[in-house]
Amino acid sequence: MKVLVADDSGIMRKIIIRSLKAVGVSDIVEAANGQEAIDAYKAEPVDLILTDWNMPEKSGLDVVVEIRALGSQVPIIMVTTEAQKGQVIAAIQAGVNDYLTKPFEADDLRAKLDKFVTV
């Protein structure tokens, strides 16, 4: 299973990657902004995407919209500080499969991964 992790914070990417490795995922692609995430997905599709919302270049919402526009049904988890109802609805309408708000506890992230990770 291959997973794309997009977040402009290197620390947050490490936290997510640590959880991914704990559930057995080792094939991981990192992106530091939305454009990198889109380019990485177009270069080589993955089986799961975890993306932040607020990133430079292009946002996580842009990532969702552009990847869905490709016809992809890859599961996407939005991991973000944006927690207002309207934003959650906008993300789901754009095609997000699940939503995790920061801050989170390790068990919260693990529960989300357990829904989508098949190793």
């Binding site: 914070s9 490490k14 936290i15 607020n54 927690a83 506890e105």
Partner: protein
């Protein structure tokens, strides 16, 4: 001129409570959930400017329904201990990873606090981090500035909210 600190939020006006309480709660949550640290509010100051006495500050611009800046400032020992908790190794200097971590803590505190204020249409920028002992952050002229001082197991930190429009 910095006003005398309040030690109890009960004494605060409703306007100040509306701004302060979400950030007190969110700061405690961020450190508790992400680092398993207990933080305690030890003082609340209202001022027109902010003179940082800590080593590393994360700043996020606020626009839309409120306008201003949110700042999270941490002592070097706090920054190093947090980086060690996140990364597993303790940095020797304020390096790229420490800066990134302070930026992300700021992002989480500002983002969660913004949502809990309950005013729609508040927008946040991306975090910027400055470091250096004795650095200063000057808020917009006329902004209402609240400085929340916290203790943590590894040293002090402050969360400053300087906004107009509340």
């Amino acid at each position: 001129m910095i006003a005398q600190p309040h030690l109890s939020v009960i004494e605060l006006s409703e306007k100040r409570k509306r701004l302060i309480l979400p950030f007190v709660e969110c700061t405690k949550n961020v450190f508790s959930m992400m680092l398993n640290w207990e933080t305690e509010l030890i003082g609340i100051f209202s001022t027109e400017k902010f003179m940082s006495k800590y080593d590393c500050s994360g700043l996020i611009g606020v626009s839309g329904a409120l306008r201003g800046t949110i700042v999270v400032s941490v002592d070097q020992d706090v920054a190093f201990a947090a980086a060690e908790a996140f990364l597993g190794n303790k940095p020797a200097t304020i390096d790229e990873e420490v800066v990134d971590m302070v930026g992300e803590l700021t992002n989480m505190i500002a983002g969660a606090g913004k949502d809990r204020i309950g005013i729609p249409g508040i927008l946040l920028g991306l975090p910027t981090v400055i470091s250096g002992r004795g650095h200063s952050v000057w808020f917009d002229h006329g902004a209402h500035v609240e400085i929340l001082q916290f203790s943590s197991p590894h040293g002090p930190l402050t969360v400053e909210i300087g906004v107009r429009g509340l």
